[in-house]
């Protein structure tokens, strides 16, 4: 079934049934994206009709887990947008280094490439010991990957190029051990990570942070939900804390925008005024 063949009404109905049955609320997600993901699931799992799909989601045990896994988009990479990481390294981390402890929240961290990138920078700046990285996502399966810290070796070329472009000066291969076609990052990098599921739609603020990183997650939400999640971040950020979003995400039209200043005209990092 092509994305354009999925009716708005049948989709809305199913998403509402999923909220009632399982508590997962995808009703405020980008319709275009959800339709494309469902269309992809039709092919992967050989559904023949929307009704068959609906039945499976609502009645088959454990299928909701697969639904959550596949409706969300988990694509990510280490040091994606090197300029963004360079700004974190040169302007944000030196400020955080002056604090007695550092709490960082990676919301929607997917398989953890972003969190390992941060761990490497914290180590290089020399503040790993006093830092904690909270890595959260709605999808428990990607969090298993975060715990393992194992990535396909073929991705490492790109990761290491990104690392160098972001201002990394060490030998990137010293951070992992390659075995067959996999690369395992050092356990030390994981020692300061706290990994947990957290749903940005329905779960609350759980701590106060000096830096919140949420990249390429808001693009999947409609405008009202984007605003609501930005409010959640605002409530979870200390005065003078930093909020970092994906390269095409904005707080410009959100209610919190007047309380933030952007560090740099290009990179999407803001500092809370007070």
């Amino acid at each position: 079934m092509a994305p354009e063949d999925i009716g708005d009404d049948e989709l809305a109905l199913l998403l509402n049934e999923i909220v009632e049955r399982y508590g997962y609320d995808f009703t405020s997600y980008s319709t275009a994206s959800v339709k494309r993901r469902i269309s992809r699931l039709f092919i992967l799992d050989h559904f023949k009709s929307f009704e068959e799909f609906r039945k499976t989601v609502l009645t088959e045990k454990n299928y909701i887990r697969r639904f959550v896994q596949e409706i969300t988009v988990n694509v990510t990479e280490m040091f994606r947008d090197p300029g963004f990481y360079k700004l974190l390294r040169t302007q944000v981390l030196p400020v955080l280094a002056t604090y007695p402890f550092v709490r960082i929240w990676h919301a929607g961290c997917s398989t953890g490439e972003e969190v390992y990138s941060m761990a490497i920078m914290l180590k290089e700046v020399g503040i790993m010991e006093k830092s904690l990285m909270y890595a959260t996502d709605i999808n428990p399966d990607v969090l298993d990957q975060v715990m393992k810290g194992i990535y396909p070796l073929r991705s490492l070329k790109l990761f290491s190029e990104n690392y160098i472009l972001s201002g990394g000066k060490e030998d990137f291969s010293s951070y992992y051990t390659a075995k067959y076609d996999l690369a395992k990052f050092d356990d030390e990098l994981r020692s300061k990570m706290i990994v947990s599921t957290h749903n940005l739609v329905s779960d609350r603020s759980f701590n106060e942070f000096q830096l919140i990183i949420c990249r390429n997650v808001l693009i999947y939400f409609n405008k009202p939900l984007q605003d609501k999640v930005l409010e959640l971040f605002d409530a979870s950020l200390e005065p003078r804390g930093y909020l970092a979003l994906g390269s095409k995400e904005q707080i410009k039209f959100a209610s919190i925008s007047s309380r933030y200043e952007q560090l740099d005209p290009k990179e999407k990092i803001w500092r809370k005024l007070q």
């Binding site: 354009e4 708005d8 998403l15 319709t31 275009a32 988009v73 694509v75 693009i219 405008k223 994906g246």
Partner: protein, 192 residues
């Protein structure tokens, strides 16, 4: 997910190109004066060159050329360029969403993705235009546009620097029009 309708009575040109399309696009937009249409442009390009595109393409007319922004509403008299390394989706209410999902046809942005969304949202108001390129991206999208009642236009493969993409489209579906590399601007201006 409330059912929304797209308001405004204007045609949407969904244009895609790959290798060899930039020159054609530059010329077309230099000539573009039609403020009744909205154009959504997906080009396969190196990321480093991508951010320069809006300036390179800027028209001298009252048509604004810009990168498509997250949840921005599609309006006539605008050319929207898909940003590098994201798919450009269109919501039922006529706003854009960006998407960082898997590449499609080895491409992100993928022409198919944007064309299929345009077909779903704008139906027969869409005019799909596929230009020079060496990749099959865009052909499935043109088919979706055709199925939704829109119009399908390709660059004449003989005039294309790389003919594979438009030729593949002509093999796969009945296109409504083929245009020479220098005729695209005039065609866009003729759209009512």
């Amino acid at each position: 997910m409330a059912k929304a309708t797209v308001n405004g009575d204007f045609r949407v040109v969904a244009m895609g190109g790959s290798a060899g399309s930039l020159e054609v696009i530059l010329q077309a937009f230099r000539e573009l004066t039609n403020t009744r249409i909205a154009t959504v442009l997906v080009i396969h390009r190196k990321e480093s060159l991508h951010s320069a595109l809006p300036e390179m393409l800027n028209t001298k007319s009252h048509v604004t050329v810009k990168e498509a922004e997250e949840k921005e509403r599609i309006m006539p008299a605008h050319v929207y360029i898909a940003p590098a390394d994201y798919h450009l989706l269109i919501e039922p209410d006529g706003t854009f969403s960006l998407d960082y999902s898997e590449k499609v046809n080895f491409s992100r942005p993928s022409i198919d993705v944007t064309f299929e969304c345009a077909a779903a949202v704008f139906g027969k108001k869409v005019i799909g235009v596929l230009l020079s390129g060496g990749n099959a991206d865009g052909v499935a999208g043109l088919k979706a546009i055709k199925k939704a009642g829109g119009m399908c236009v390709v660059q004449n493969p003989k005039s294309a620097l790389v003919s594979f993409m438009p030729q593949h489209a002509m093999n796969e579906l009945e296109v409504d029009k083929t245009l020479g590399s220098g005729e695209i601007g005039a065609f866009l201006n003729s759209i009512q």
